[in-house]
Symmetry: C3
Subunit: 321 residues, 3 copies
């Protein structure tokens, strides 16, 4: 595996899932693979879970890890070609990327959407430059439009906690005070569509339609209550307007409807549904204290599975070196 | 050992001291204990000695180490329950703590006193949440009211440099330009009280009384000169008003009396006393250049012993996993 | 080897070069040397290549690595003696340096020139304090006046890419929007002078004369075109006024002459010359996009050789412990 961005990069999902459970059972089994190999984690944006779980996964596999926070301790990077670089950016990505590639064997990149230029974001401009110029296998640690390590961990978590063979899984929008990227719902939709035994439904206010390439054939239900009825898993997430129905709205907050906040009444509509969220979560905007602290909340097991999903991805990349 | 906050967490001091000297003699002796174990160091506040010595101790013991600066590269954390999180804090400690616990085996926490709410600080609210919610053994890397790794290193240093069986040890307040927590003098007093062969005296301006639970039966002498007479060790430290005699003064600077600065005249009152300070130290406020640079200054050996005290604590926690 | 600042610290260059190529051929050959040894990397200034390549080199050699960004997560440090420390600096270098030395076996220091006080900078005041007070071997990771890890990597790169036995190597000044230190051109000149088979020429606008102790017997040619004629290697770099001809100009920008920018016309004057720069580089100030992206550009191999030059230095220091 030379890059990890989309669900298809992982090959057959049943095989990947089997590897995940094998590694969860013995996290150090493949430690020999990482000997004298170095992972470089490059952060253009903040991180808690990704930072910690990716380091842990790489160390489980015997790797050395170098963490680079681009905006703290390094230089600001120019991303456009042809400019006279007389501003605050003292290095160009076209030099910085191959240089980073010099000192490592694998690269993880976190680079969020800017949310101002949809075309730039959805072209995954920064990630693609790493793939093109680094000379190393690259995996996404949340990029402009995807967060596959999260979606893979979510799928593992659903598999572990489902009580029916084909659970109903509902991705629901919820309100937030800041404009957030669409990376998490995009990848979650992509992975749920790829999972063989999931009845997948997306619900959100009108105008918040996700990009068709991620929605695929998923059912979209604008009535949140109807969507929740009979659900086994509620996956809550805010995202800003994806600009699908109206490009001018891209990256904007076009609804703050607090009736979408997931509370105990919402959960009462479900089939004793489990509550999921990728974290970090704004309590009492996305979800009430009661719901996130209830026995049906899976937010911590989801986070714990980030170590597992990442271990599978790094293992695959090490095997392919 | 499942937590390390107070001197009693360490059990009999003579056994702990014997382990300290054993490790100082062979720092890598217990390296097998840390294999495939990960320490997470969580900093809510700045650190030099603690950051470096704790990393070193954990690596000596064969552990992997993850360092998380909460205010640089991660999210700001909400600590109150029930609030609508629409401000600048994007994650709640109640999620963040168990998540951090997912990716490690031991946790070290640095979280200073806010110095505005005495009850909140002296309840060790942040530390207690880590103990309650992380699911991992937790040790204090200086918290609101204690700094036990420092006090343990201080005790080792006194043991190494004492020339009489029962030395007189004086904890003296000294002036400072900023309001500092009471963690260091609190723990030092607690440890000196627990040490079998120490004649312990505390001296400070009136109003600066430390919390009774740390002072215990120690002698308090308001006349600095009298306190220094015949002292074998002078342990200087500033602290802000502990709010014991007047709660409204808590965390305030109620004296800047420069006559308390430890200079050569002060040291002349002692029994050729050694000078100690936990560092960082403000020269010419706490202590003059002459005293801190004199042959009787122990500030560097004290700092070096931080690696040893921390090694004993981590070793104990690894053994108990 | 107890310190690495100048080319002579490395001993005979032919032996050092042979070690470099041996290590490049097998980067993990000396991994046993670093077992239970710790490198502390101390950054007073930002870094990308140095940060990454030095970590990589130390890990190749089996070392543990601690990275300390002094201005992020630690205290601000006082460097003058005798001051009453009641400002924003809470620790003195005279304590901080020996403390850092306590927790490691080797120290790397990055501390740039302030460019306001020539005497202070050219005395290498900060670096010399580390050498004097840390009790550990110290190497420069770019200091006020030198960047020897870069110059060593440059020499390796020239050796690898030269097509004549005695290549003509030209160090050329180029314009920049900010005042930069002279560390890179100083060390490059020093190393080229020491290299046995190099025809070395320096070219820059009048007034930009480098310090005589670094220029040595090198030829200085003020006509950039004449200097470039027949060159096999063009080494471009900006530096601020070194204050040699006029002390009052020290650290200032006294020329922004854009005719010095290295473009394809400049390169056409050479003997199919290779283009070199230490990076980070401001495109279209120092060099045009076309030249830096051309097949004759060596900027990435130069950066890659930073891992090699640093490995030799660390290996030598470990052997001497």
């Amino acid at each position: 595996m030379n890059c990890f961005i989309n669900v298809e990069d992982l090959g057959p999902l049943d095989k990947a899932m089997a590897e995940a459970f094998e590694i969860k059972n013995d996290r150090y089994k493949y430690q020999h693979l990482g000997k004298n190999k170095t992972l470089m984690m490059i952060f253009f944006n903040n991180s808690l879970r990704t930072r910690l779980s990716t380091q842990k996964a790489a160390m489980n596999l015997g790797m050395n890890v170098i963490v680079l926070d681009v905006n703290a301790g390094a230089w600001k990077l120019e991303t456009e070609r042809g400019v006279i670089m007389d501003g605050d950016k003292s290095e160009h990505l076209l030099e910085a990327i191959p240089v980073m590639g010099c000192y490592c064997d694998l690269i993880g990149v976190r680079s969020f959407a800017g949310l101002t230029d949809r075309e730039y974001d959805y072209a995954e401009t920064v990630l693609q430059q790493f793939i093109k110029y680094s000379g190393r296998p690259v995996f996404a640690m949340e990029t402009a439009t995807v967060h596959p390590l999260q979606a893979f961990a979510d799928l593992i978590t659903i598999e572990e906690h489902k009580v029916v063979e084909r659970p109903k899984v509902v991705l629901t929008w919820a309100p937030h005070c800041r404009a957030l990227p669409q990376a998490v719902p995009n990848s979650f939709a992509q992975w749920m569509n790829a999972a063989p035994d999931v009845d997948f439904v997306i619900t959100h206010p009108e105008g918040y339609e996700l990009d068709p390439k991620f929605v695929g054939n998923a059912r979209v239900e604008y009535d949140q209550k109807k969507a929740f009825e009979g659900a086994d898993f509620i996956y809550a997430k805010n995202w800003s307007n994806p600009g699908v129905t109206n490009l001018a709205d891209y990256g904007k907050i076009t609804s703050k409807d607090m009736s979408w906040t997931v509370d105990t009444e919402h959960m009462s509509w479900t089939n004793n549904g489990k509550f999921m969220h990728c974290l970090p979560v704004r309590r009492n905007l996305i979800v009430t204290d009661d719901v996130i602290e209830s026995p049906n909340s899976l937010v911590i097991p989801e986070a714990a599975n980030r170590e597992i999903s990442c271990s599978v991805v790094i293992k695959r990349m090490l095997e392919a070196l």
